[in-house]
Amino acid sequence: MKGMIRLLGLVLCAAPVAAQTVPQFVEETTPSGLSHQFTGEWEYMVGGGVAAFDCNGDALPDLALSGGTGPAALFVNQSTAGGALAFAPVESGIETEAVTGTYPIDIDSDGITDLVLLRVGENVVMRGLGDCRFERANEDWGFDGGDAWSTAFAAMWEPGESLPTLAIGNYINQREEAYPWGSCTDNWLHRPAGAGYAAPLPLTPSFCALSMLFTDWNGSGRKSLRVSNDREYYEGGQEQMWHLEPDQPPRLYTPDEGWKRLRIWGMGIASTDLDADGYPEFYLTSMADNKLQRLVTPAPDALPDYTDVAWAKGVTAHRPFMGEDLRPSTGWHAQFADVNNDGRADLFVAKGNVWEMPDFAMADPNNLLLQGADGVFVEAADEAGVASTHAARGGAVVDLNGDGALDLVVVNRNAPLQVWRNSGPVGNWLGVALSQPGPNPTGIGAWVEVRTGDHLQRHEITSGGGHVSGIWGPQHFGLGTAEQAEVRVIWPDGRVTEWTAVQANQTTTLSP
């Protein structure tokens, strides 16, 4: 193993962190200069994504923001380490309209992150040129952007391929004015062919996807494609999972294989291995109750049969937890992330009414659910200061100022974007970046494991999920009071590195 450790030059205090420590988030939207809106009416009632990734090599995530009827925008991160948040808009080449979502991924494996722009209309892949500049690459890469209303994305590398396989989720036929229901358009699977992409493969049937994620759900080493669908618009639909076998056409999991029909207003997927048993749990946002799925019988030959443990774990987040508006909630982007660095994944959920739906809460605060030692989550958004009641959509929980405390950016619909700096208190932390030569340089599909004593944390490296929002950068692990940890990687090809001891409060880069 070639472990390379890169100190960030900032070490937080390593004071013990009590269970359920609530970090304080300071909203710095206006002073940070991050001024942007996702705007629009019917075609933009969903969407509103943010991509957080480093486009200029300063180890701080920059932000690519969808704009809906307005242009997409890129803001360069000018924050100082541990200091106030600061951003500046730059002309990057992504300033196009009708963008619903943005995902970062190094498609051509040149070490420069590219961008996928999901749009109402043609999707565009933008090749990163360095220094936060991008150029259209649809033609160069043979990528057919289509002409649909795209609202979901996921990517993975199939074995032996030089380019990632891209899945694009599509929504309603935007031209169906009178009867949009039942008009879901086909999702597309873009598989590599030669130096570019083959013609897209329709993932029929499609049921108005709002989130997709490639995941090794059963520890088999193979990825499947989970698709979360909006029941508001499909007819005869349900949640889906596709087999993706090399050189084989995609194939849906069936009831005979244990797949159980679930029909929700699927809006976002978040995943993490909450109990470190080798099998990820999936959080599915919806309207009213959200779902937390755990395998009924986690085992190597497990059937994809999930039970909903959202209530037991305290994460139904089905109605506003504060204020007087107690109508059911509407959930969008979701992300597991350890915001207090206590070694346990917490959960952020962006909330907001679809668009003047009076049966659902209009003042619908975002959730920040902190996981306790018993595995049960407790609401802390209000105390933490992030309980905004704007109509949130996408978001990212990401360390914006390099201090080891995860900050928060949320895209709101027809209202200003918001950003908060996490001022702590938080525990120790570890960042883990992956690097390998050749295709898939950042190790999408790998598992990173971090061990402190007998406490194990596992992250699957994915590209996709959430609600039209993605992060690319080091994996963040909270370490609590631990001064050091052990880390190893299970690479997409099955190679496993040795456990390596690393000191806390730094980012380490691991290679095979």
Binding site: Y179, W181, E232, P328, D359
Partner: protein
Amino acid sequence: MDRRRVLGLGAAAGIAALMPGRVMAASDPVPVLTNWTKLTLQLVRHTATYSPPVAARAFGYLGVTGYEAVAACDGALTSLAGQLNGLAPLPRPGDGAHDAAMVLQAALSAGTAHFFANTGPSGQRAMATMRRKLDEQVTAGLPEDVAARSRALGLAIATHICGWADGDGGAVIGNMGFPESYAAPADPAAWVPTSLVRQQQAPLLPDWGTVRPFAMPAGNTCSLPPPPAYSEDPASAFYAEAMEVYTATKALTPEQNLIARFWSDDPMLSSTPPGHWIFVANDLITRRQLPLAASVDVMARLGVAMADAFIGCWQAKTTYNLLRPVTYINRVIDPAWKPLLNTPPFPEYPSGHSTVSGAAATVLTAAFGDGYVYDDFTHEREGLDGRAYASFWDAANEAGISRLYGGIHFRAAIEQGLTQGRCIGAYAVALRTLA
């Protein structure tokens, strides 16, 4: 009495679209009725408060709206004012010609907007599109003064009916119909929540039995005997009913499985059980080219009967507050058993789908006749093929037993529900529509 004749099925198809004596060229009003009905079925599915009782209520009021709009322009029809509980005499046409299609269009567009004011952005957009397109169709070639006069009359009728509806006790639905809390009685027979959904920890619409009925005198008019007495004794009738559900669901044939799914009609995933019957009626109106008067007649009676069916059914559900099969079977027979269908979040006895299907079959049989053979294409767009029925009661009986196959009802709830529906439906059949 030949009820088909009463309902106008024997009349000539070309009922005058304009008021007698003021005839002008006009468009066919029937598509106005069927198109709004189709949209209403979608709105029911896509509006969160539209559980089956709430949907039935809307179908009742919109059915009456359509009927009264046509009756205002057809001297052969008599108003339902004075026949339906609390319905005062409606606005009548003044001087000048009126166009029946425009009156109907104005009444249904306003009524639909009222009852689905809380639907989402796509529903609002669809209603606006439907209103615009049908307006364009019915006003094409129509003198402006006739169009304006007809629109005003339709709006006045809708306003009158919406005002009537607002006072029935069922107009305001909070928290999608679920009370904030529920304390289950200390009685092993009592209903307890069966869902892991947080919102569904209290019974849906517990006061719906007190909503003002349309045609039947009161919520308890068609009351039912109690279900078999609760018992965990294997020799008891109650245990036998539970064992029947358990046994049947453990060995469902593919056909029984299909029947359970065909009649599942889940709220927010379908147009609900009353919507299923509205679809059937609307489809028959189109396929069999029913005349206008007969069409609005059958829609009004069907809506009224099904709205009353849910009021009567809920009155009984609240009275008996019986637990669901999943609760009993998990407690007494098999802790691991799961029903095929999602168990609805309210008491078991009687079966709502059975009551509403009994009421619907009663009305439709009166309208179309015994042994009326038809195909049901309700779920064709969702991938379920149409099913053929030898009669409306053939279908209603299948709807009833589907709840046993689905594992959500005992047999008594089904049989008594169908009986209750027959009783309630008779009040809608007895309404007088010929002048």
